[in-house]
């Protein structure tokens, strides 16, 4: 009975569709897709001249074919859709025909004409495209779902194209300047002047020693990562353990709130506090630790503007919440059976934590640590006010620096000679920074996937 009904239905549909089914079905799809493509070409190329006529023709043809098809098959057809279509096409025509100066206004003043007409054509072509998909798949609920895909996919494709454009440009600008010599050597810039007597006259001769390189920035990044992990790993794990295992009352809530708030408040506040700490510690016994020192080319000891120790303390404010939440997540995924079995045998609470809970949460902790290292390599706002070119050596007591500090310096500096010397290598430095952060992120993703697979199985 049901089969008969279905076959009847199918026959009715094919009757409605007519004989040359496939060809007629594909016409509106092809034309509307071409309309979308032409509209995006106008946007990309930003010229109406080449694409205006074909895009208008394809959009209107697609719309007309869709209308004819909907009329022939006597599907329900939306009045709003028709209004949108013809308004869009008509206004695109009008914008193309309009003179450049219109009632004393230059119509290219705010938006480019091609942008407006491309957006209008997009507004026409996208609904007609999705409606032609809807009709081709038989106007069923499944077809309705399928017809949503253009609207979902288009913004995603645009966003991914923006990311692709950025990374492509970075590769184009960065790869040609790649050289081992620049990577491995430090940036040095000493200048001094002496007075000599020539023919009874004093003459000032200035010397300038320069070495192009980004070596100390890379080493500074790795030193920062190491020190930040040293500080934030015990604190982050301690927070995670305390709020899940030892205390579940108001204390745990307060600590959790404080830990999350460290990331919620702006990084700018943390950077400002770092600067104030360095400034107020000047001329005290803490100065060599907090503000740092270096010996210049003449062997004279100078105070720096903020040491690696200060920088790592203030960056670890951003990394502690990451490790704490990772630890918490790992402990929450632990099945209750294991802890109960351990406690039931007679092991103490602390023994259970040391031998059951922490080993279970270890992959999560390592994942959090790797993500924290990536964050450290990229974080700049916390240390931008206290760091600089640490050109007199890298150790915990010298001026803090990292690759992102170098890139920011090249961006904002007014020192033209610095820009001239180090400027070409800023894109290479950005590539190295991306390699470090993406490597750490991908490692954490792989680790998370791998360990979660092996542990969940048990």
């Amino acid at each position: 009975m049901a089969g008969k009904k279905q076959s009847e239905l199918r026959n009715g549909l094919s009757e409605k569709r007519g004989n040359g089914t496939v060809f007629i079905l594909l016409l509106p799809l092809i034309f509307t897709l071409m309309g979308v493509i032409f509209a995006s070409l106008i946007l990309i190329d930003n010229s109406l001249g080449k694409y205006a006529v074909p895009s208008l023709i394809t959009a209107s043809l697609g719309a007309v074919f869709l209308l004819v098809y909907a009329r022939v098959t006597s599907h329900s057809w939306q009045r709003t859709l028709i209004i949108i279509m013809f308004l869009g096409i008509g206004s695109a025509f009008l914008i193309n025909l309009m003179p450049t100066i219109f009632f004393g206004f230059h119509i290219l003043g705010v938006f480019h004409r091609s942008t407006v007409s491309a957006i209008l054509l997009m507004l026409v072509s996208l609904p007609t495209f999705s409606f032609s998909i809807f009709y081709i798949f038989g106007a069923t609920p499944k077809a309705q779902d399928l017809s949503r895909y253009p609207f979902i996919l288009l913004p995603i494709i645009v966003a991914l194209a923006a990311f692709g454009l950025i990374i492509y440009k970075l590769l184009v600008l960065g790869v040609p300047h790649f050289s081992w010599r620049v990577i491995t050597s430090n940036f040095i810039w000493h200048g001094w002047s002496t007075q000599v007597w020539v023919n009874g006259w004093p003459v000032t001769i200035s010397y300038n020693v320069q070495q192009i390189g980004i070596g100390q920035y890379i080493m500074g990044t790795f030193l920062l990562m190491m020190m930040v992990s040293l500080i934030s790993l015990p604190i982050g794990v301690g927070v995670g353990l305390y709020i899940t295992e030892y205390s579940k009352g108001a204390t745990a809530n307060i600590i959790k709130f404080a830990t999350n708030s460290l990331r919620a408040i702006s990084v700018f506040a943390i950077g400002l506090v770092a600067l104030s700490v360095v400034r107020s510690s000047a001329n005290t016994f803490l100065a060599p630790i907090l503000s740092g020192f270096y010996y210049n080319e003449n062997g004279v000891r100078n105070a720096a503007s903020g040491s690696f120790i200060t920088a790592s303390i203030f960056i670890s404010m951003l990394v502690i919440p990451i490790i704490a939440s990772a630890t918490e997540e790992g402990i929450h995924s632990l099945p209750h059976d294991l802890t109960e079995a351990s406690l039931g045998i007679g092991a103490s609470h602390n023994y259970t934590i040391a031998h059951i809970v922490l080993p279970w949460a270890l992959p999560n902790i390592v994942t959090g640590l790797l993500l924290g290292c990536a964050e450290t390599a990229g974080s700049l706002a916390a240390i931008m006010l206290i760091s600089g070119t640490s050109q007199y050596g890298i150790n915990p007591f010298t001026q803090s620096t990292s690759l992102s500090v170098f890139i920011y310096q090249c961006l904002v500096t007014t020192d033209q000679s610095f820009k001239k010397v180090e400027g070409p290598y800023v894109y290479m430095a950005a590539l190295i920074l991306i390699l470090i952060t993406l490597g750490l992120t991908i490692a954490s993703l792989i680790l998370k996937k791998r360990f979660s697979r092996s542990y969940r199985g048990t």
Binding site: L43, T100, I101, F105, H106, L108, F111, H112, T115, K142, D145, R148, I152, P155, I156, V158, A159, A162, F163, L165, I166, L170, I235, V237, G238, I243, Y246, S247, I255, A258, S261, L262, A264, I265, S266, F268, A269, G271, V273, S276, S305, M317, I320, P321, A324, N350, A377, L380, A381, M384, L385, I407, V412, V426, A430, L433, T437, L438, T441, L445
Partner: protein
């Protein structure tokens, strides 16, 4: 009737026995480690408050980097909440109104989240509901990788997006104005729009996995009930899944807003520091610096020697305003969560 009073000794006042203390050393150690973030937060806030001192002090004199004594006017709350700001480092009568900066933050958050939220939501829908098998999984991995790109990269590459989108479409510079006419609109390269676009590129890979998780956490029984009644997948998504995932979406949105508000580097590079309110005030094609960029400008950027004490204090006020705004958003989100919690719960209660 006699009531028997049962006095319990106060736990705080009685010292724990040394044996018990020794036994619970891991707990004590964890507690000491766990209160460090709390101490850090308190230290940050107290330090910011303490360093706002010069703002509220009576007319003072200070020496700028050239050794010239400048007469600084009293700023006070009235000076902070005024609409005028001018660079403090050079002028001898600085104006430190933070209203433009607050408006800039609001405008920037609106632009950035207006771009980032729909795209991230569509990405989450694509990878969780409208999955094309491997494509959904690939999208999730790609977003995980893209979230590792640090903000300084976007700050460095903003000119690429500018030349691709803003310059040809919104700035017809290549076209010369006709004789006797000037462009009645010619925005500078720095603008809130380009800042918002770069910020949304930073936020999208961060926001999409959160939305994805929120949509995935909706119990399958909800969707199955809707699909079983004959609703389409799109109808189910709009009317069942997204309302049920509202709490997760809202907490993701809160994190995105906080990230957009607190960003320093991208806005400093793309939008100028210390600017007045544009005319009209919602003009996103002109620069209007948010609180963070204004604060960086007042704190002197890299050049520490040029810090103007009064400007530095105003920067602290800006940071405090940011902290207050962040906490206000957290409280607002909590209230909204509480309001909408009863609508959908896993037990159906």
């Amino acid at each position: 009737m006699t009531t028997k009073l049962n006095f319990k000794p106060l736990k705080l006042l009685t010292p724990p026995s040394p044996r018990r203390l020794i036994k619970s050393w891991p707990k004590v150690l964890c507690f000491i480690l766990a209160i460090i973030p709390l101490i850090m937060l308190c230290f940050v806030i107290v330090n910011l408050v303490v360093h706002t001192g010069p703002v509220f002090r009576q007319p003072s004199y200070d020496v700028n980097h050239d050794g010239i004594i400048n007469n600084k006017d009293y700023v006070g709350l009235k000076g902070i909440f005024s609409t005028k700001i001018s660079t403090a480092l050079t002028g001898n009568k600085g104006q430190y109104g933070l209203i433009p900066a607050i408006w800039g933050t609001i405008l920037l958050v609106i632009v950035a989240m207006g771009i980032a939220t729909p795209v991230a939501l569509l990405m989450a829908i694509f990878s969780s509901e409208f999955t094309l098998g491997f494509l959904g999984r690939g999208m999730r991995t790609l977003l995980g990788v893209l979230s590792g790109i640090p903000p300084i990269i976007y700050a460095l590459m903003w000119i690429v997006i500018f030349t691709a989108i803003i310059a040809p479409n919104f700035r017809p510079d290549g076209l010369n104005p006709p004789a006797g006419m000037t462009w009645w609109f010619s925005p500078p390269p720095n603008s809130t729009l380009i800042g918002g676009i770069m910020l949304s590129l930073l936020i999208i890979p961060f926001l999409a996995p959160l939305f994805d998780d929120a949509i995935k956490n909706v119990p399958n029984s909800f969707k199955e009930a809707s699909l079983g009644l004959g609703a389409t997948r799109w109808y189910t998504l709009i009317n069942v899944t997204l309302p049920a995932a509202f709490s997760g979406l809202l907490s993701g949105l809160r994190l995105g807003v906080l990230k957009a508000m607190g960003d320093v580097i991208i806005v400093t590079a793309t939008i100028a520091v210390e600017t007045n309110i544009p005319n009209p005030f919602f003009d996103i094609l002109r620069p209007i610096a948010p609180l963070t960029a204004t604060g960086v400008g007042l704190a002197g950027g890299f050049s520490q020697s040029m810090i103007d004490p009064l400007g530095y204090a105003v920067a602290n006020v800006a940071a405090i305003l940011l902290v207050i705004m962040a906490f206000a958003i957290i409280i607002l989100e909590t209230l909204l969560q509480r309001k909408f919690k009863k609508r959908f719960s896993h037990d159906g209660r």
